[in-house]
């Protein structure tokens, strides 16, 4: 059993609990091949796909700002059977659900009427994409990857592969190490960017970066801060394990990470204990010498 297997089970159980609690759920299956995943995306994915910056004024929605609640979990296993490969689960509202709520009553009436036709709905959606961004969604992202040949040696690189930078058009993850805080641009939203898009983009990027990955499952939670806080507790526990893995990897590379020394065990303690007296003597001598020279 790999170190994170219990947490894969915990996370999937937690999601099942949330569903049982009546949380809105949407499940999508991504196609198996990279080409099919990329081909079906409404936005570009890969190096320089995005300018890297999304201005406040160009933001359609923010995800996971610290006040709203944010959590990022990354897990790996060497047992692909633990995951449902390609599954993208969304608990809570989708990105596209944000826009409608941004509109004023007049805009809704003007644009969409009573949704009597597809054209009205299209106009409503277009108008919503021009509206100011909603307050941030609470946001949890859970990425689980599996591969028979994945081991703790791969962990650091896997974590680094999650740094998005400019790799997803219309999506910017803010430089914030604590959790995950991101923006979706208006332009991307107008192209149809949803959590399904984000999930598939992440799958494409991770699989491209690491051929050892055989299965990926991703879940997004945007329900409320309370749910995020529960997942954040898992994230804290996972973080501790993560640090131990990094420590072990560095030990294997030859770094002496353990630092159990303290004053009681230090060979130089007698020197430290008398250092002030030594300094006083030295300063006395230096002063004598200076006085002698001045004479």
């Amino acid at each position: 059993m790999d170190v994170f297997d219990p947490y894969i089970i915990k996370c999937t159980n937690k999601i099942d609990e949330m569903v049982a609690d009546g949380k809105k759920i949407r499940v999508v299956m991504a196609p198996p091949s990279l080409d099919e995943i990329r081909g079906g995306l409404p936005i570009a994915v890969g190096p320089a796909a995005s300018q890297g910056v999304i201005l406040r004024s160009d933001t359609f929605v923010e995800l996971g700002n610290p006040e709203a609640g944010s959590c990022s979990i990354f897990l790996y296993t060497s047992q692909p059977s633990l995951l449902c490969n390609g599954r993208i689960t969304l608990l809570g509202p989708d990105i596209s659900d944000s826009g409608i709520s941004n509109l004023t009553f007049d805009e809704v009436v003007t644009s969409g009427g009573l949704h009597s036709s597809d054209q009205d709905l299209e106009l409503l959606e277009k108008a919503s994409h021009r509206a100011p961004a909603a307050k941030s969604f609470p946001f949890a992202q859970i990425i689980m990857v599996a591969g028979k040949n994945l081991s703790e040696n791969d962990y650091e690189i896997l974590k680094t592969n999650q740094i998005i930078g400019d790799l997803i058009e219309g999506y910017m993850v803010r430089s914030f190490t604590q959790n995950i805080w991101s923006r979706v641009s208006r332009e991307a939203a107008a192209k149809g960017f949803t959590f399904e898009t984000l999930g598939k983009a992440l799958m494409a990027l991770l699989k491209s970066a690491n051929p050892k990955i055989e299965a990926i499952e991703i879940a997004f939670v945007t329900t409320n801060k309370h749910d995020i806080d529960i997942l954040e507790e898992y994230a804290r526990q996972i973080q501790k394990i993560s640090k131990e893995i990094v420590k072990e990897n560095w030990k294997i590379k030859g770094y002496d990470i353990e630092c159990a020394s303290d004053c009681a065990s230090c060979d130089d303690k007698p020197v430290c204990d008398t250092i002030r007296d030594v300094l006083k003597e030295k300063m006395k001598e230096a002063r004598k010498l200076k006085n002698h020279k001045q004479k």
Partner: protein, 410 residues
């Protein structure tokens, strides 16, 4: 006003305010009619702003002193006084000010062990300084951990510190006022973080060092002069406005043909004006980040009194430059380096290995190896960020130029 005129004006305002951080500023602060407290290190502005007292920071005054005209002379004088020669020169300068008797007597002293042993030593010097024997003292013990229990521990100390400040100065700690200040502080942090995101644009729209200036105004200068605190917000808003406009028009730093973006992951040297502008102009090399322009703060949680103090503690322990890098495990430093390089498209990492940063320098090979694994060219210097005599800016420039050439970046 065009973009550059606005940026020049912001720069001039910042430089004018920085005088408050020098030894002259410290002496002026003591005469402002506010209770006057001296701290050994970086201090949270929320408490002095909310309680309306002036807090001067010794290490900062020392650092500012290393950029002054008498810097070399005073550093040497400090050594002659018996202050350990291998000590970080910003701390050595601060110790010199103390031992030379040119600091005003404060109403209270606050010392701490963060971010390093040198500042811890400075605090001990201040505690034992005979002319200040009767000055009330408070010691903050910064933990090296980063668990919620560590933040709660430090938060309790901050609470106790405010009680002691009230006792000594007669200033009341009012929660409503403190909440207002914390909310404003969150707003400032958000603005600095916004500026940080804007630096991702290629070319970089504004000299990244403006983030450091904004930070110093909002954190250090506001602590010495609470009246500056709200002005810092407006300064930051103006900086964001002009930077956003430059990003929209895809404009870079004026006069710079950007070719290289690099990370200088340490403090900005006191002789930086002799290095970074030259790197920009002659090599097109832009320093994207240093410790003080790296904004990585969690917001202050104002939901309850308990949460306020422990979230401020978290902000201090994990977000304050140097405390973040020096007080916590090496993996945090290394992860920061990789993340910054990838997110800000840095072509290289320069580790100054400042001679006073022996704690961080202990893992320079770790940082080098992590960079190599991630395909990031790495250079370490071994300079003194406070004393240019040790390794002159010209030598640093030449070494960096050679490094960029050998790495295929030039």
């Amino acid at each position: 006003m065009n973009h550059q005129e606005i940026l020049n004006q912001l720069d001039a305002e910042a430089n004018d305010l920085f005088k408050e951080l020098t030894i002259y500023g410290v002496n002026d602060n003591a005469r402002k009619g506010l209770p006057f407290i001296i701290a050994s290190d970086d201090a949270l502005p929320e408490i002095p702003v909310a309680m309306n007292f002036s807090l001067s920071i010794m290490t900062v005054a020392g650092a500012m002193g290393t950029a002054g005209p008498e810097a070399a002379t005073n550093i040497d004088r400090a050594t002659e006084m018996g202050i350990e020669n291998r000590l970080c020169n910003s701390v050595k300068m601060a110790a010199y000010y103390l031992e030379a008797g040119i600091l005003p007597v404060p109403d209270m002293i606050i010392t701490t062990n963060s971010p390093c042993d040198a500042v811890d030593m400075l605090g001990q010097l201040m505690d034992k300084y005979k002319p200040w024997a009767d000055v009330p003292k408070f010691r903050l013990d910064s933990p090296h951990g980063h668990e919620p229990s560590d933040f709660a521990y430090f938060g309790e100390q901050l609470r106790a510190c405010t009680r002691e400040i009230s006792r000594v100065t007669g200033r009341k700690f009012e929660m409503d006022r403190f909440l207002d200040v914390c909310n404003e502080s969150n707003k400032q942090a958000r603005l600095i973080q916004e500026f940080q995101e804007l630096k991702r644009a290629v070319p970089c729209p504004v000299d990244p060092d403006m983030a450091r200036k904004g930070w110093e105004i909002a954190r250090w200068i506001a602590a010495t002069d609470p009246a500056v605190f709200p002005k810092a917000t407006r300064w930051l808003e103006r900086l964001i406005e002009v930077t956003e406009d430059k990003v929209k028009h895809q404009l870079g730093i004026e006069g710079v043909d950007e070719k290289i973006r690099f990370l200088w992951y340490d403090v900005s040297p006191s002789w930086s004006s002799k290095l970074f502008p030259r790197l920009q102009k002659e090599l097109g090399a832009v320093c994207m980040m240093n410790y003080y322009s790296f904004a990585n703060w969690t917001p202050i949680d104002t939901s309850s009194e308990e949460r306020i103090m422990s979230s401020i503690a978290e902000k201090y322990l994990m977000g304050t430059p140097m405390t973040r890098q020096a007080m916590h495990p090496a993996d945090i430093y290394c992860e920061d380096v990789v993340r910054i390089c990838k997110e800000f498209k840095c072509d290289a990492m320069v580790m100054p290995c400042h001679i006073g940063h022996r704690d961080t320098n202990a893992y320079h090979k770790l940082a080098k190896d992590v960079c190599r694994e991630n395909g990031i060219p790495f250079l370490f210097l071994g300079c003194d960020v406070w004393d240019e005599r040790y390794m002159t800016p010209e030598v640093v420039f030449d070494r960096m130029k050679t490094f960029f050439e050998v790495s295929g970046l030039l």
